[in-house]
Amino acid sequence: MTDATAMSVDDLNFIQRIRRDYSPLVIAMVGLFIVVFVAGATLTDDFLTWFNVKTIIRDAALVGIMAIGLTFVTLSGNFFLLSMKEIAALSIICFATLMGAEWNQWGPAEGDPTTSALMMTFLVAFAATMIIATITGAIQGALIGLGGNPIVVTLGAAGLFFGIGSWWSDNLVVSYRRPHGAEWLGTGSFLGDIPNITVAFIIIAVAAELTLRYTTFGRQVYLVGANRAAGRATGHENFGMAIKCCIIASVCAAFVAVAFSGQVSSAHVNYFSSEFGSSGDMTIMVIAIVMVGGNSIMGGYGSTLRTSLGAIFISSIDNMMVLNGFNSGARVLAVGLMIVFSIIVFALVRRGSRAVE
């Protein structure tokens, strides 16, 4: 027999605690969503199979890696980069141009090139792409760190990078022939039936999560994001932090570009604008993943684990709708609804507990 008047926090069971902490509206919305998702998962044929789960994670991999990079920027309180797909476009052009370049062919002039020659070609192109990505990230980070608004800076930078990419490739498709050194990353699989890009996604997700949790740099990201004044007082200016985080995001975008180029053996600036995935626009998709994962856009709250789960979640919803025969319009609508829904829910949840900005 418990005394109702002297009931402490520990006496509350799980459901009571949820009812105390969250408003009925939030509970109703989340409950409705869970019901719809579970019903969809059980009623859709072939959804809950090992093959389909692998497909979902593989589809989530490319956008997921980009979103993990963007999470660093968001956590450090710099909103998001509107130039993700343009960075990727510039990187993919750089990579494909160097892969196809004449001087970049080590090994014998005739016959099939050796594996080591292909690998050298790949490494040179990869290194150059990463250098370009680092430069693009550093430029944007420096402008943001000096006090420029992240949205406006990256909007301008997006136009700039896209223009450079189009000008470099003459707005044409740059292709290179198979066999090439990037096949193992694009389409290969070392671990039996699990593609390498999935493995890369998992490794990057784990590494990012460990970095954020257990390294000094990770803690600094949270500090600068949560309280910029406190960060400045303890010697962690946003200037350096913005540069580092933008470089991480840029490098992730460039890695995705390399992996995607490895899949299709070619490159075009519009690969990430129109032809990629169902939703038309890679940048918005990546931002959607960061938001649906439940990271605070104001910074300081969230993790890359949430982002990875958000990527898999959006991918599984997309997969479910494809299996049920929905067109791309409905799928884009569903992703849009999910973003707006998660924004409203997280804003309502955090309303009481966090100081209003």
Partner: protein
């Protein structure tokens, strides 16, 4: 002369915008013989009809301290609705439906931003995707087309040498919004929540009303821009018109808004848009591909932002060093006084 000097010191941003617009115009007028003609003037005003609306919408949002990223999607949705329903219901009905939809969407966005107390970029990046989905739905995922081309002809009829019904409508819109922003309480509330939000809220201005007004106007402008584009070309695509955001932002920033809000105005928006239009039209004469135009716009935006941020940082440093100097001066005066007091006793 005295009056001009006063004007320059009072509105440095506007003067900068006018100078930039003038120099861009003069550059192309000298280098391109066809640029300074009536026909090109008409073409520039035709571009102004669309870009001016987007520049105006973004200027208002940035004055209120927010930014509306969903403007391209909203315009695309309005274009799709108008073009799709014109054949069945007549242009006027379809147009009014599209305007009502886009204005309502804007007002709802404003309401939620004020109610949830979130930044507009957070919500509008979500609605960007959502409205794209709605537009795809409305268009059946096809490019919708007009069958009756009398309406496009009417919209681009030449009037008074430079104008067409569309551009006259947009100029009227500019005048109305300009009067609204300057002479009504609601307009000044928008400046207040942009420039000093905490102070404005503390003095009893509700956040909701100005937010709803700003985003409703923004939605209306986006919708009208989309309708003009859709009816003029006779086609509409659900995933199109995303380039409007960059061009509109460049126009707004050249026009002298500050990202911190509370600064800028409708005249600045008009001049900023004209600058972008001079650049666009002039580059067309050079047969510049569209991606190069995007590159130039990107560079222009970065330069303006760097200029603005630099001047802000410089001012802050100046203020801080002035404060430190002040402290030093007072400390030395104090030290002298203490020395004076001690001298006779020591």
């Amino acid at each position: 002369m005295e009056r001009i000097k006063h004007f320059v010191t009072e509105n440095p941003d506007l003067v900068f915008a006018i100078l930039l617009a003038g120099s861009v115009f003069t550059f192309f007028a000298i280098t391109e013989p066809l640029f300074f003609t009536h026909r090109t003037g008409f073409a520039i005003m035709e571009r102004f009809a669309v870009l001016g609306l987007v520049g105006l919408a973004l200027t208002l949002c940035i004055i209120a301290g927010e930014i509306d990223l969903s403007i391209g999607s909203n315009a695309a949705l309005a274009a799709v609705i108008t073009v799709r329903f014109t054949d069945d219901w007549g242009a006027v009905n379809a147009l009014l439906l599209a305007l009502a939809v886009s204005t309502t969407i804007g007002a709802i966005q404003g309401y939620f931003i004020a109610y949830l107390r979130i930044r507009a970029i957070v919500l509008t990046v979500g609605t960007l995707m959502l409205l794209r989905g709605v537009a795809l739905f409305a268009a059946d995922e096809k490019t919708v087309m007009l069958t009756d081309f009398r309406i496009p002809d009417f919209i681009s009829t030449k009037m008074l040498v430079y104008f067409s019904p569309a551009s006259l409508l947009v100029i009227a819109m500019f005048i109305v919004v300009g009067l609204f922003m300057t002479y009504t309480r609601y307009g000044r509330e928008i400046y207040a929540i942009g420039g000093a939000r905490k102070e404005a809220l503390a003095s009893g201005i509700s956040l909701q009303r100005p937010m709803i007004i700003v985003f409703a106007i923004s939605g209306f402008c986006a919708g009208l821009g989309g309708i003009i584009i859709g009816l003029r070309s006779g086609t509409a695509q659900a995933l199109g018109l995303q380039y409007l955001l960059l061009a509109g932002t460049v126009a707004a920033f050249i026009g002298g808004v500050s990202i911190l809000g509370g600064k800028g105005g409708v005249i600045g928006a008009a001049i900023g848009t004209l600058t972008v239009n001079f650049l666009n039209t002039g580059l067309v004469f050079n047969v510049t591909p569209s991606f190069m135009v995007q590159l130039y716009l990107g560079i222009l935006l970065l330069v303006v932002i760097m200029f603005q941020t630099g001047s802000r940082v410089f001012e802050e440093r100046q203020r801080r060093s002035q404060l430190l100097n002040d402290v030093d001066r007072r400390r030395s005066i104090l030290a002298e006084k203490i020395a004076e007091i001690r001298r006779p006793s020591g």
